[in-house]
């Protein structure tokens, strides 16, 4: 069974990477989305992720299945962290193994790009100036300045 879940704990990306290693694979790509301090000149103090857990988990599984249909994937793993994260913490880890290397980069990038479009998880930035903003591809709610390409 592929490792696919949400967690409130710090991500163990080594375990995630180990879970996709396989003698049929010549390449592993691990992607980590990490909490960046500055985005468009705004300084993040920390952030929070919230999910619609039930749908997010089924959505991550669908993502892995669809990736396996599109790319010659040997194994995939996807784990997203929820709750409060500090600077440089890992928010998401995606690992994929494939026979050849170009496929691993393509599949890894497709997985994170598609995760960001589909999986019902939301990020709320807490800035050092005290503002707290939900981040969306189009800024909504509290005020201006949502950020579309956060990582």
């Amino acid at each position: 069974m592929p490792v696919i879940h949400l967690t409130d704990q710090p991500l163990d990306y080594t375990a995630i990477t180990e879970s996709v290693r396989d003698p049929a694979a010549g390449a592993v790509v691990l992607f980590l989305g990490t909490v960046r301090e500055f985005t468009a000149g705004q300084q993040t103090e920390h952030l929070e992720y919230e999910a619609y857990r039930e749908m997010a988990e089924s959505s991550l599984k669908q993502l892995a299945d669809e990736a396996s249909a599109r790319f010659p994937i040997v194994k995939t793993a996807i784990v997203h962290r929820l709750g409060v994260l500090q600077l440089s913490d890992v928010a998401v880890a995606i690992a994929v193994s494939t026979p050849h290397r170009a496929q691993a980069f393509t599949a890894g990038q497709w997985l994170i790009d598609t995760l960001k479009q589909r999986v019902p998880i939301w990020k709320r930035e807490h800035y050092t100036d005290g503002r707290v903003l939900w981040q969306h591809p189009v800024a909504v709610a509290d005020s201006a300045a949502g950020q579309s390409e956060a990582t």
Partner: protein
């Protein structure tokens, strides 16, 4: 998810803040469309109206179109564009 005769509507992130609640129970007849649920939701939670054009909707954990059928016991979710990753 809940007893027959009602649909559960869940709100997340900025949609929850705007709705002022995380959840509504809407009484529904045997079958309705998601479009009808959406109208009821926007009436009950007027704070969502400014976000209306942005909102995404799901029925039983799948993204759904306005024409999707919704039955008592189903779970509808309403939320803004996602920003995970």
């Amino acid at each position: 998810m809940t007893g027959s005769g009602t649909v559960t509507v869940l709100f997340f992130a900025a949609a929850r803040d705007a709705a002022g609640t995380a959840q509504l129970q809407l009484p529904v007849p045997e079958k309705v469309t998601l479009a009808q649920i959406q109208q009821q939701v926007l009436r009950h939670a007027g704070g969502l109206q400014p976000l209306q054009s942005l909102l995404l909707w799901a029925v039983n954990n799948q993204y759904a179109l306005p024409a999707t059928t919704v039955q008592p016991g189903d779970t509808v979710a309403c939320f803004p564009p996602v920003s995970g990753g």
